[in-house]
């Protein structure tokens, strides 16, 4: 029988052939938790009397959301996870100083591998699918169960095939492509399904852009977003000391059954934003300004699990280099991990940011999820390279967030209004 990528990985894990629509209790390769959902997982784990995690080498714990500790309560959550990591002898616990936003950190440290089935207590766990694996976000109780038993229940997902074709226009980047895709599918267009993303544009794209795309699969409702492992993937792991014999490269069969096929020609695309209050409310910057007039902004956030990697910071620096951010606009730049931060320092990007009038923060999820370090007041407007713009996402329920690429966010920082990079650069 012809199988999709998702069917193959789940079949491999359970040891017999499983097709879309079937339910399984599947052995999990790696389990990830952050402290925000993780403290609830740990409480559940203990409440049900579990003594030991199934395998301390397969659990990855990363404080990322309310760190550096925001207040006494969240300091307690971080401590709950730290203590749990110690008592359970968790190998992959990453303390402040070596941590990062988890979806930046796990790929960077090669903690998840092609061909694996990964679950994580965060909806953006789908990010790792860019590495040729199946990675699914879940809630706290699911993660508690997985930590105890090494298994999770799954419904084998149907698959939507996405094909990006054509040549990428200048200043159109991975974030623009995924926003176009979400617009095309709608926020529930891929509900319960896997998005299998490929085509000549993806083949030519580096790993960082690919991670940006799979990161936002959940914004179309998808269970997972995946990109087949190829030479880019092999090089990515090789640079991290993991060679091809250390993982499994799986592909869908050529006659596998898809629930839908979507093709997007990128050749004539322009930089876009997702306007409030939905990630599928996508429009080009030019069209939006033409329709609504100039849109003033109070804050710019460049970072997050979507766009906090070094290539994202390079794009922002390219725009901001030698210029000043508009007076009155607060620009917050957040490298996703310590390594990205260090690289940005070494390359002189941080110097460019500070000279332009931006602040550079330690890695954290802070403003993206409205937690800390960049909360919006009533009526304020932000442009952000993050992944969600629901009401109240970054602060007050009457604040607004426009989602964009680092290019558009940096260009807007200079103008003090939503701006296309073509306009200011």
């Amino acid at each position: 029988m012809a199988l999709t990528f998702s069917e193959k990985i789940i079949s491999k894990q359970v040891g017999e052939e499983k097709k879309a629509g079937e339910f399984v209790f599947a052995p999990i390769s790696k389990i990830m938790a952050n402290e925000l959902s993780g403290f609830v997982s740990i409480k559940q784990f203990k409440r049900y009397g579990f003594k030991k995690v199934f395998d301390p080498e397969k659990i990855i714990l990363v404080p990322s959301h309310n760190v550096p500790n925001k207040d006494v309560t969240t300091a307690g959550h971080a401590k709950t996870m730290r203590d749990f990591a110690r008592e359970q002898e968790i190998v992959h616990y990453y303390e402040l100083g070596e941590m990062g936003i988890e979806h930046g950190l796990l790929p960077e440290k090669a903690l998840v591998l092609p061909g694996e089935l990964v679950v994580g207590g965060d909806s953006h766990t789908c990010t790792y699918g860019a590495l040729g694996l199946l990675s699914v976000g879940m809630g706290s109780t699911d993660i508690a169960a997985a930590m105890a038993t090494g298994k999770s229940w799954l419904r084998v997902p149907e698959t939507i095939k996405v094909n990006f074709t054509g040549g990428m226009p200048e200043y159109v980047v991975a974030k623009d492509l995924v926003l176009y895709l979400i617009k095309r599918l709608g926020v529930e267009g891929a509900l319960y399904k896997t998005l299998e993303i490929g085509g000549e544009v993806i083949n030519a794209m580096g790993m960082e852009g690919r991670l940006t795309i799979t990161n936002m699969a959940v914004e179309a409702g998808a269970k997972a977003g995946i990109i087949f492992a190829d030479q880019v993937t092999k090089d990515f792991y090789s640079e991290r000391g993991v060679e091809e014999d250390g993982y499994d490269i799986l592909l869908s069969d050529s006659d596998a059954v898809y629930s839908e096929e979507v093709s997007i020609d990128v050749s004539n695309l322009s930089p876009v934003v997702a306007a409030p209050y939905s990630p599928d409310n996508v429009i080009t910057v030019d069209e939006l300004v033409e329709k609504e007039g100039p849109i003033n902004i109070d804050q710019v956030v460049i970072g997050s699990c979507t766009n906090g990697r070094i290539s994202d910071l390079r794009q922002a620096a390219q725009i901001l280099d030698g210029k000043k951010v508009a007076r009155g606009v607060r620009v917050i730049i957040i490298p996703a991990t310590q390594n990205v931060y260090l690289q940005a320092v070494k390359e002189g990007l941080v110097e460019k940011f500070i000279e332009a009038g931006a602040v550079v923060s330690t890695p954290t999820c802070g403003p993206c999820a409205g937690l800390h370090s960049g909360i919006l007041a009533e009526g304020e407007v932000a442009i952000s390279t993050t992944n969600r713009n629901f009401p109240g996402r970054m602060g007050h329920v009457d604040s607004k967030v426009y989602l964009s690429s680092p290019y558009v966010a940096a260009a807007s920082a200079l103008k003090g209004q939503l701006a296309s990079p073509l306009e200011v650069y």
Binding site: S37, V40, R47, T141, D142
Partner: protein, 159 residues
Amino acid sequence: MLLRGRVHKLGNNVDTDQIIATEYCNSENPEELSRYCLLAAEPEFHKKVKKGDMIFAGKNFGCGSSREHAPLALKGSGISLVVAESFARIFFRNCINVGLPIMICPEAVKTATDQDYVEADLSKGELIIGGEKVMAQKFPPFMQDLVKAGGLLDYISSK
């Protein structure tokens, strides 16, 4: 299990930030969370809601974050059942795991109006709206077992 409650109607794509914003996710106590439940969608919800009330929502209810605080906040508010045209998948799992009853039933959402009193038979997957019987989508047997056990951890513990 038979339920009777008053309907609160909500639209499409009500996300978990609207159900419970992260700034209130520092507790996992349902009663405490309930004070901030649906603040962004319906600021008065926490005052209006009564024990046994039901949510009738459109498509993709609970989209966004994986936070389990969302079903807990609804549970703490006294919500006895959430009926939606469709659910976001992590929210759907979380409801089963924390024991918040849910039904997928586009017809019921279209039929019921705000403040209606509705009866639900969870074991039959049946809703009575204004005397009319409406059937919800049946859960696959696998999920029925999870629900019967009282949630995922009870299911695992019983094995």
